[in-house]
C-alpha cells in the first residue's frame, strides 16, 4: 500500500481539526484529524500510518476522547512519502462477517520497521458506505478505462449480493435471539436469549458455507450458446418469434434469424467516436411471408430486439412454385451486389451463400442454386434477394402477358406435356417465335460446372445443416 503523507499544516489544539485527505484523488476533501494515529518512530524515519481511512466522506465526528499520543505528534510537520508492501493487519470489527471472510485471505505482512504498527478502528469505510457504493468502487464501471472502449473484454468483475443467505440474528458466536432466529414462545412461555452449543454452531456455519459454495458454483457454470454460421459469429442464430404487438397479436409462427451483427462508430462533437451495435435480422414463417430490418443500439441485445420487432413491419410475400422453389431463373442486382438464382428440382437443396440459405429457409424455399457476384455486403445481398423474389413472374402472369399456354416438360416423365397455366382470355393463334440460338447470357463458371470441367471439391455440395 502506497501511503502518501502530507504536510500537516497548522496544528492546533482543537479537537476536531480537519486535515486534508491523504489520498490523491480525495485531496480536496477533509477527514477528521483524530482519525490519524501517528506514532513516533525511530529517528531515521518517521512514518505516518493511516488506517480506516475514509474516502471522500465527511463522517460523523468520532466520540472517542483525545488520545494521549495525539499531543506528541501535534508538532509533526515532516512529510515523507514511503511505500511498503503488504496490508496492515485488520482486526475484525464488530459487524459484517464478510469482512472477516475477506480478512482471512489477506496475508499479514509487516514492513521492516522497528516499532509495531497498531491499527484499531471501530468503524471504517466498510460500514459507512452502502453495498452499492462499495461495489461501484470495486467494479469501476464508469472510470476512464470504461470510456472510449478502452476496457478489456475479459477483465470484468461480477457483482455478488453478499446479503444473500444472511439471517438477522445469526452470528459467529451463535446466539439464539427469540424473534429473530428462534421462536418467541415455546410451551407457552417467552424464551430468553441463549446460545447454541459449539458443535451445533459449527454445523450451522458449515452448512452456510456449503450453501454459499453451491451458489458460487452455479453462478460460474457457463451456459452454452447456440452456434451460428461459425463458433463466434451471430449470423444464423435464431432469436425466437418476435415480441407480441401492442394490440395483443402474437407472431408465434414467425421465426427470426440474425444475419449480421457489427459494431459501428459515429463521430460526435461531444465524445469523439460513439460506438453502437447494428443488427440485421430477418423474420419469416416458412410459407412465403418474410422480411428483414436493421436495428441499432448501444448494446447488442437491445439492437437485436429492435431489429426483430421492426422486421415484422416490413414483410414481403414471395410466391413459390410448388412451395419448394422459384418460378424461373432470376438475376437481381442491388448496388454493387449481383445475385443469380436458378430454379432447381425437388431434392436439390439450397446450394447458396450462407446468408441466402438462412433467408430462403425463412421464406420456405427448399431447392435453389444462387451465386453472389460482386460485393458480398450482407445488407445488399438481402435486399437483392428480396427485390428479385418479389418481382418474380408467376406462370399465370406469364401466360396472361403472352396470351399463350405455359406447358411444362419433365425429363422423368418423357414427352408428356403438363399445362401449368392457361391465359384467362384464351390463347392467341400465332405461335411464339423462337430463335435457333437462345438469347441468354452465359456465365463461364456455370458453363464449366455443366460440362464437368470445374475442379473445385465444393462445387456440388448440398448442405443440410445451417
Amino acid at each position: 500500500m502506497q501511503v502518501s503523507f502530507l504536510q500537516s499544516g497548522a496544528v492546533s489544539q482543537a479537537e476536531h481539526r480537519w486535515v486534508k485527505c491523504p489520498r490523491r484523488q480525495h485531496r480536496h476533501q477533509c477527514v477528521p484529524w483524530r482519525e490519524l494515529q501517528i506514532i513516533a518512530l525511530s529517528s531515521s524515519m518517521q512514518m505516518l500510518h493511516l488506517r480506516g481511512h475514509k474516502f471522500g466522506q465527511h463522517a460523523r465526528r468520532s466520540r472517542t476522547p483525545q488520545h494521549p499520543n495525539m499531543a506528541a505528534v501535534t508538532r509533526l510537520c515532516c512529510v515523507l512519502r514511503l511505500s511498503f508492501e503488504g496490508v496492515g493487519t485488520l482486526r475484525a470489527l464488530g459487524g459484517a462477517a464478510h469482512f472477516s471472510h475477506l480478512a482471512r485471505h489477506s496475508a499479514p505482512q509487516y514492513a521492516p520497521v522497528t516499532a509495531a504498527l497498531q491499527q484499531n478502528r471501530h468503524s471504517s469505510f466498510f460500514n459507512k458506505l452502502t453495498a452499492d457504493e462499495l461495489w461501484r468502487g470495486v467494479l469501476a464501471e464508469s472510470g476512464a478505462g470504461a470510456r472510449k472502449g478502452r476496457g478489456k473484454r475479459t477483465k470484468r468483475k461480477v457483482k455478488k449480493d453478499l446479503n444473500r443467505g444472511q439471517n438477522l440474528g445469526e452470528g459467529r458466536a451463535g446466539y439464539l435471539w427469540p424473534g429473530l432466529n428462534s421462536p418467541v414462545y415455546r410451551d407457552g412461555s417467552i424464551q430468553k436469549p441463549s446460545q447454541r452449543g459449539e458443535a451445533e454452531q459449527k454445523e450451522v456455519t458449515a452448512a452456510l458455507e456449503r450453501q454459499r459454495d453451491e451458489w458460487d458454483k452455479r453462478r460460474k457454470t457457463k451456459i452454452k450458446r447456440e452456434r451460428g454460421w461459425t463458433g463466434f459469429s451471430w449470423g444464423g442464430i435464431s432469436l425466437g418469434p418476435p415480441d407480441p404487438g401492442p394490440n395483443g397479436e402474437t407472431y408465434e409462427d414467425f421465426d427470426s434469424r440474425v444475419i449480421e451483427v457489427k459494431s459501428v462508430f459515429n463521430v460526435t462533437a461531444k465524445e469523439s467516436r460513439k460506438r453502437s451495435i447494428s443488427a440485421l435480422v430477418a423474420v419469416g414463417n416458412g410459407n412465403g411471408a418474410a422480411g428483414f430490418a436493421l436495428g441499432k443500439a448501444a448494446d447488442k441485445n437491445t439492437a437485436l430486439r429492435k431489429a426483430k420487432n421492426r422486421a415484422m413491419h416490413y414483410l414481403y410475400y414471395i410466391e413459390r412454385y410448388n412451395n419448394h422453389t422459384i418460378y424461373h431463373d432470376i438475376e437481381s442486382k442491388f448496388k454493387r451486389t449481383t445475385l443469380r438464382m436458378k430454379k432447381q428440382n425437388k431434392g436439390y437443396g439450397l446450394r447458396c451463400h450462407r446468408a441466402v440459405i438462412t433467408l430462403c429457409k425463412l421464406i420456405g424455399i427448399e431447392d435453389m442454386y444462387a451465386k453472389v457476384d460482386g460485393s458480398v455486403n450482407l445488407l445488399n445481398i438481402t435486399r437483392a434477394l428480396f427485390h428479385g423474389l418479389a418481382n418474380q413472374e408467376t406462370h399465370q402472369n406469364l401466360a396472361d402477358k403472352k396470351q399463350l399456354n405455359v406447358v411444362e416438360f419433365r425429363a422423368e416423365q418423357g414427352a408428356l406435356p403438363i399445362v401449368v397455366a392457361q391465359p384467362q382470355l384464351g390463347a392467341r393463334k400465332e405461335p411464339e417465335v423462337e430463335d435457333d440460338v437462345p438469347n441468354t447470357r452465359l456465365h463461364w463458371a456455370d458453363v464449366k460446372a455443366s460440362q464437368g470441367v470445374k475442379r473445385s471439391v465444393w462445387a456440388g455440395v448440398k448442405r443440410t445443416i445451417w
Binding site: L404, V407, E408, A415
Partner: protein, 361 residues
C-alpha cells in the same frame, strides 16, 4: 416371306469339340432353328408384335398346325380389342420414373401446338404399351451328342462349351456340356440363359434370378400393390417362353383376379396379356363387373366380343352369332348364358340404358 439361310458353322469356330452331324441333319436343324429364330428374334425385342404376327401366321401356314383355326394372341382383331381395353391414360403411362432429377423446361404454346404435343405423347405412349408376347412354353432340351465312357472320372466338374461368335443369334448358339461321367449333351434352357447372360450381359438381367420371384416374397410384394414392378422385372429377367416367366405371370394374374385389383394394370402393357389369360380361362366375370362399375361400357362390350372370338363354341357366342347381336345385347346374352354374376351385369346394363336414353334426346 423368306427364310434367311444361316451360314454353315465350320468346326474351327466352335470352342472345343462337337460331334459331327451329317449335312442333311445340319440343314434340317438349321431350318428349324431359322424359323424359330425369325419368330423369336422379334420376340427378343418384346415390343415388335407386328413381325411376330406375320411370322406366326406364315409358320402356321407352313406346318399346318392344328391351332390354325382357333384365335391366337397375335390376331389383328384380338390385338385391336386388347389395345382398346388397355386404355391410354397418359398420366399413368408417363409416371415419373426413378432417375436423376433435373429442373423442368417450359414452353409457350398455342392450342394447336399443345394438341400436337399431346398427339406426340400419345404416340410414344403407344410405343411404351406394346404387349409382351404370349408364347407356348419351350420344350426341354434333352439332346445327347455323345457318350464317352473312357472320360468318366477324369474331371470333377461339368465343362460348358459356348460359341461366342458375335454374329450368331442367341437361340442358335451351340452350348454343350461335358459331364464328369463323360456324356456330351446340349445345355438345358436354364443353363443356356445363364451362360448367355455371362458372355452377353443384358442390362437389368441377373445371372441367377433375384429372390423376389420366390412365392413368399411375391406375396409380400402383392400386398404392397406392386404388381407392375414385378412384371417389369420379370420381363427383363426371363425369356418370354420360359417356365419361370409363365409361372410369375400366372401368380400375378391370380392375385389380381383374387383381390379384384384390375385397375393396377390398366394403361400398362400387361393388361392385354392379363385379359387374354382370363378369357382363355373363361373367367371374365370379375373384370366385366369392374369395367361396369367404372362405367366403361365399350370396354365391357369389347371384352365379351373377344370372349366370343376365343370360344366360338360357347353358348353366348352361338346365341350372339344367331342374333347378330351388337353392343349391349352382347352383354345381355353373355350375362344370360355364361356369367355367374348375371344379376349385376343386367342391372348395370339397364341403368346405363336409362341414363343414355334421355341424354340421346
Amino acid at each position: 416371306m423368306q427364310f434367311t439361310t444361316s451360314p454353315s458353322i465350320p468346326s474351327s469356330s466352335l470352342k472345343g469339340g462337337s460331334s459331327i452331324h451329317s449335312r442333311s441333319d445340319i440343314i434340317h436343324s438349321m431350318a428349324a432353328f431359322s424359323f424359330t429364330r425369325c419368330l423369336v428374334r422379334s420376340y427378343f425385342c418384346v415390343k415388335c408384335v407386328d413381325h411376330v404376327q406375320t411370322r406366326l401366321q406364315t409358320t402356321t401356314r407352313m406346318f399346318c398346325v392344328s391351332t390354325s383355326r382357333s384365335t391366337q394372341f397375335t390376331d389383328t382383331e384380338v390385338q385391336d380389342i386388347l389395345t382398346k381395353i388397355t386404355g391410354l391414360d397418359l398420366k399413368k403411362v408417363f409416371q415419373p420414373i426413378r432417375q436423376q432429377l433435373t429442373p423442368p423446361k417450359y414452353k409457350l404454346m398455342t392450342d394447336t401446338e399443345l394438341e400436337e404435343a399431346v398427339r406426340k405423347a400419345e404416340e410414344q405412349a403407344k410405343h411404351l404399351l406394346k404387349m409382351p408376347p404370349v408364347l407356348p412354353e419351350r420344350k426341354p432340351i434333352n439332346d445327347v451328342l455323345s457318350e464317352d465312357q473312357m472320360l468318366e472320372g477324369m474331371n470333377t466338374a461339368k465343362y460348358v462349351f459356348t460359341d461366342i461368335n458375335f454374329n450368331v443369334p442367341h437361340r442358335e448358339r451351340f452350348i454343350v456340356v461335358r459331364e464328369p461321367s463323360g456324356t456330351l449333351r446340349k445345355a438345358t434352357w436354364n443353363e443356356r440363359d445363364r451362360i448367355i447372360q455371362v458372355y452377353f450381359p443384358k442390362e437389368g438381367r441377373k445371372i441367377t434370378p433375384p429372390p423376389i420371384f420366390k412365392e413368399e416374397n411375391l406375396r409380400v410384394v402383392f400386398e404392397q400393390d406392386r404388381h407392375e414392378d414385378v412384371l417389369n422385372q420379370c420381363v427383363v429377367q426371363f425369356e418370354p417362353d420360359s417356365a419361370e416367366f409363365k409361372n410369375v405371370l400366372m401368380l400375378t394374374y391370380e392375385d389380381i383376379e383374387k383381390h379384384g385389383k384390375y385397375d393396377l394394370l390398366r394403361s400398362t402393357r400387361f393388361f392385354g396379356g392379363f385379359a387374354w389369360h382370363l378369357v382363355n380361362g373363361r373367367r371374365i366375370d370379375g373384370l366385366l363387373v369392374d369395367m361396369l362399375q367404372r362405367d366403361l361400357m365399350q370396354d365391357a362390350v369389347r371384352l365379351v366380343r373377344l370372349f366370343n372370338l376365343v370360344h366360338p363354341q360357347s353358348e353366348s357366342a352361338q346365341h350372339a352369332q344367331r342374333q347378330q347381336a351388337t353392343d349391349l345385347n352382347l352383354l345381355k346374352i353373355y350375362a344370360q348364358y355364361e356369367s355367374n354374376r348375371a344379376g349385376f351385369i343386367e342391372l348395370a346394363v339397364q341403368t346405363y340404358e336409362q341414363t343414355k336414353a334421355p341424354s340421346s334426346f
